[in-house]
């Protein structure tokens, strides 16, 4: 058994504070994703509602915004904000702030598009039959439109959230020591004593990400069932 653990490179986890360091790295990644997910949901809902108004000016701006987010790899966005902005604009943006900016910028765009899509998928007749019953605009949104929108939005939003959590692994490219970076450091440091550490470490990271995202998937399934 112990030889299996060693040959698979899991032994390195039990050396020193390695496991704790990995978990701390995961926390760094989760903190960045959690903050940007919350900001993205709030901003995305607001922007998505604005987009559903179909005002030409808003349409043009949001279109450009969405296209930028779609076309640019997140890593390029990170580099632009972290290296570009600090040098070109003389701003002193910390790596964490830069990644929060980028992930919120990205997440808000995707969230906004999902909100817009869910909102416009509600047939006009749902509004009209609410008005015909004497409901105000606010009541119509509160009791008829938003509950239906949320139900359509939920699985899509959850998918986006898990994607955002996974993509935070990119922040190590701008020097943030998150779980993947910690993993690399551990592998490097133990190259001589545990040459097989790579497998053990990355498998552990895989498991950690799984543990972070799986509950979200479960929650989404539960909520979908409850809403149906």
């Amino acid at each position: 058994m112990s030889s299996f653990i060693t040959s698979m490179g899991f032994d390195v986890l039990f050396k020193g504070t390695n496991m704790i360091r990995l978990l701390q790295g995961l926390l760094v990644a989760l903190k960045i994703s959690l903050i940007s997910v919350v900001l993205s949901i709030v901003l995305g809902i607001i922007i998505g509602m604005l987009m559903s108004l179909k005002k030409p000016v808003i349409n043009v701006i949001s279109r450009i915004y969405l296209e930028i987010v779609r076309i640019m790899p997140q890593m390029v966005l990170l580099f632009i904000v972290y290296f570009g902005a600090t040098k070109a604009l003389g701003l002193n943006v910390s790596a964490t702030a830069a990644s929060l900016i980028v992930f919120t910028f990205w997440g808000s765009a995707e969230m906004a598009d999902l909100v817009r899509g869910s909102l416009i998928s509600i047939p006009v007749i749902q509004y009209e039959s609410s008005y015909a019953l004497g409901m105000t605009k606010l009541q119509t949104y509160l009791y008829v439109i938003i509950p239906q929108t949320v139900r359509r939005l939920l699985p899509l939003a959850i998918n986006l959230i898990t994607r955002m959590i996974k993509t935070t692994s990119l922040v190590m490219m701008i020097g943030i020591v998150e779980v993947l970076k910690v993993g690399q450091q551990i592998i490097e440091a133990n190259r001589k004593t545990s040459p097989n550490a790579a497998f053990g470490i990355f498998a552990t990271i895989f498991l950690l990400y799984f543990l972070a995202c799986w509950p979200i998937s479960l929650l989404s399934r539960y909520l979908e069932k409850k809403a149906a």
């Binding site: 047939p123 749902q126 039959s129 008005y131 015909a132 019953l133 004497g134 409901m135 009791y143 239906q148």
Partner: protein
Amino acid sequence: MDPILKVEHLHKNFEDFKALEDVNLSVQKGEVVVIVGPSGCGKSTFLRCLNGLEEIDDGKVILDDKVINPGNANITKERQKIGMVFQSYDLFPHKTILQNVILAPLKVQKRDKEDASKEALELLERVGLSNKKDQYPRQLSGGQKQRVAIVRALIMHPEILLFDEVTAALDPEMVREVLEVVLSLAKEGRTMVIVTHEMAFAKAVADRIIFMDGGRIIEEGKPEEFFEKPKTERAMRFLESFEY
């Protein structure tokens, strides 16, 4: 007697298209007015103007001495006096049948839940659907959904009911169950304005027939007169189109 609903010189345009031109109508309390006419003649638009779902360009819609206007601050109050049932079964898909029916009484009229539910069940019983109260709209047939939509309008105690081609989207075998409900409401002496393509039904239910074409009222009269010997050539051609 003063009419309950009065429409004066109503004009409605969609950009350059004149959907309604100088439409005048008054409906007495307890009267059943049926509007017929070819597709696109403006009859549905007319109905939608009656409860402020469409902006009107000129003229007036007056219900109970109050002007109906989408911009009015009290439009929601006026709309409670007008029950409307649409062509598509427009129940709220995320709510059960009972919840669909009591939503507006609870939220708009602030009625007591127990009291509203009790009345809802009585009305559902009347259309033969009280056993479906905890089901969702998707579990019901088109005809059943349409009957629930009628109940949902009735529970608000409207002074006038508007029916916009309520059977047009139904399978033929379900048309009858819906029309029978409408017919029973007419017998109760309710005030109704009905848009329909079912000529036999129009004949049976109407106190007065309005024939519209090209956004205007072309002819109106008693059902027997209109269907037996229409006065205008356009009405004649329209009625012929229903014969084989």
